[in-house]
């Protein structure tokens, strides 16, 4: 008994750091809910402080009310990164999620979720950069810590949704910390889908369609559609694209954009991604529901329709562009 208790205690400490990080990663869910919550020792002790969660827990005590798994492929708005994270956590309790992962990439093909990819988040969102790094480091720790519970978890099996095994209503066995933590996040994600989808993470726009015109020009076919979705003018997006790609172009008869130079869809996607981060999402609440307007003094402002915040954005600057191609005409 003694060694087990000890081991559990030690694992708990690891798990706690883990838990702390997840709170970070979820857009400071806990901080926002209880800013003065300085004393939380374990996940259990602070769970009741998040009201929606306690509601969720209340709902869950009735095991017959088998909750619908929120990470099914149908829920297209769900964020992939969260899904993965959750999957890691819940691994002990749930095994039948393999299909989800297979379905997820297919989902991503239909409409690129611009912020879904971690790569981008690390690269572009500057504030989140340190976060992401910490997260990465802690994740590694978390993985090491998970080895132990995986072995232990064999005796703690059961389906969270169906309420079997350890999750059965009348089950009196104490549930280990890891599965409980898994359940916590499963429920959190499920009862508060807006937490998971808050911000840019689930913001989707149709993928840009790139055609080649001749050898040297690229046609960006659905720019009008994308601009409509982002609620930005074509001109603004075009100007940004040209500034970033260091090129020029024109609009053809069908309102398609003709860009000089060869560009692949992926490259356009990357630029659009940075555009969205810079000019579409609200930095305060990360909602993409914003409007770009010209303020009093020739500055552009972004007004958020969800939280009402207003911030100024930099005008699009082309910067230096070198002379490419034909030689410059001689002066005079």
């Amino acid at each position: 008994m003694e060694p087990t208790a000890q081991r559990r205690a030690s694992r708990k400490s690891v798990a706690f750091t883990d838990e702390k990080l997840v709170v970070d990663a979820d857009g400071n869910v806990t901080i926002m809910a209880s800013p003065d919550d300085d004393t939380k020792g374990t996940a259990v002790s602070h769970t009741p402080r998040t009201p929606p969660l306690s509601a969720a827990l209340g709902a869950f005590t009735d095991a017959s009310q088998a909750p619908v798994e929120s990470t099914t492929d149908g829920a297209g708005d769900l964020d992939l990164s969260l899904m993965k994270k959750k999957k890691k956590k819940v691994k002990v309790a749930e095994d039948g999620e393999g299909a989800d992962e297979a379905a997820a990439p297919a989902d991503g093909e239909e409409a690129i979720d611009l912020s879904m990819k971690k790569k981008k988040k690390k690269k572009v969102v500057k504030e989140d950069d340190e976060f992401a790094k910490k997260l990465e480091a802690l994740k590694l720790e978390g993985k090491e810590g998970e080895e132990a519970p995986a072995a232990e978890g064999k005796e703690q099996e059961g389906d969270l949704e169906k309420g079997t095994g350890i999750w059965a209503h009348d089950e009196s066995k104490t549930i280990n910390y890891e599965p409980l933590l898994g359940r916590f996040f499963a429920l959190l994600a499920q009862k508060n889908p807006d937490h998971a989808s808050s911000g840019t993470r689930s913001y989707k726009i149709p993928p840009p369609q790139c055609l080649r015109e001749g050898n040297k020009k690229t046609i960006f076919a659905n720019i009008a559609e994308i601009c409509k979705r982002m609620k930005r003018t074509d001109e603004h997006v075009t100007a940004y694209l040209f500034a970033e790609l260091g090129t020029s172009g024109s609009v053809d008869g069908a309102r398609r954009l003709v860009i000089k130079g060869r560009f692949q869809q992926k490259q356009i996607e990357n630029v659009l991604r940075t555009y969205i981060i810079e000019y579409v999402t609200c930095k305060t609440c990360r909602s993409p529901n914003t409007e770009l307007s010209k303020g009093e003094n020739r500055l552009y402002f972004i007004t958020c329709n969800s939280c009402g915040s207003r911030r100024s954005v930099q005008a699009i600057k082309t910067g230096f562009s070198a002379q490419v191609g034909k030689r410059r005409k001689m002066q005079g």
Binding site: K20, G319, F320
Partner: protein, 117 residues
């Protein structure tokens, strides 16, 4: 026990950090890429602080990246200061060089903006 994310940031404090950052935004280093003919590209680095010797930087960088390059000065790049122009896509390498503390310039990564696809 201290919670990491609670101690660092006070949303109601005076935005000193912010103003510091906006100061820096004026001094961004822009790394851009431009397409040339075929698969060829140019990398331009704009806004390296004038306390560094651009000529020396170029010399080192050219050797390191095994590419040619040139400095484009005021007359051609109007109002952009001196711009280092390198052949090929050297964006990642030059960023690494600018931030490297031992062999590079040791600049803050936040002051560097990489443009392009």
């Amino acid at each position: 026990m201290s919670i990491e994310n609670l101690k660092t940031y006070d949303p109601f404090a005076e935005a000193d950090d912010d103003s510091g950052q906006t100061k820096q935004t004026q001094e961004y280093i822009h790394i851009r890429i431009q397409q040339r003919n075929g698969r060829k590209t140019l990398t331009t680095v704009q806004g390296i602080p004038s306390k560094f010797d651009h000529k020396k930087i170029l010399k080192v960088v050219k050797k390191d990246f095994a590419c040619n390059g040139t400095i484009i000065s005021d007359t051609e790049s109007k109002g952009m200061g001196e711009v280092i122009q390198l052949q090929g896509d050297q964006r990642l390498k030059i960023k690494e060089f600018l931030t490297n503390k031992d062999e590079g310039l040791g600049l803050d990564e936040k002051t560097i903006k990489v443009h392009g696809f």
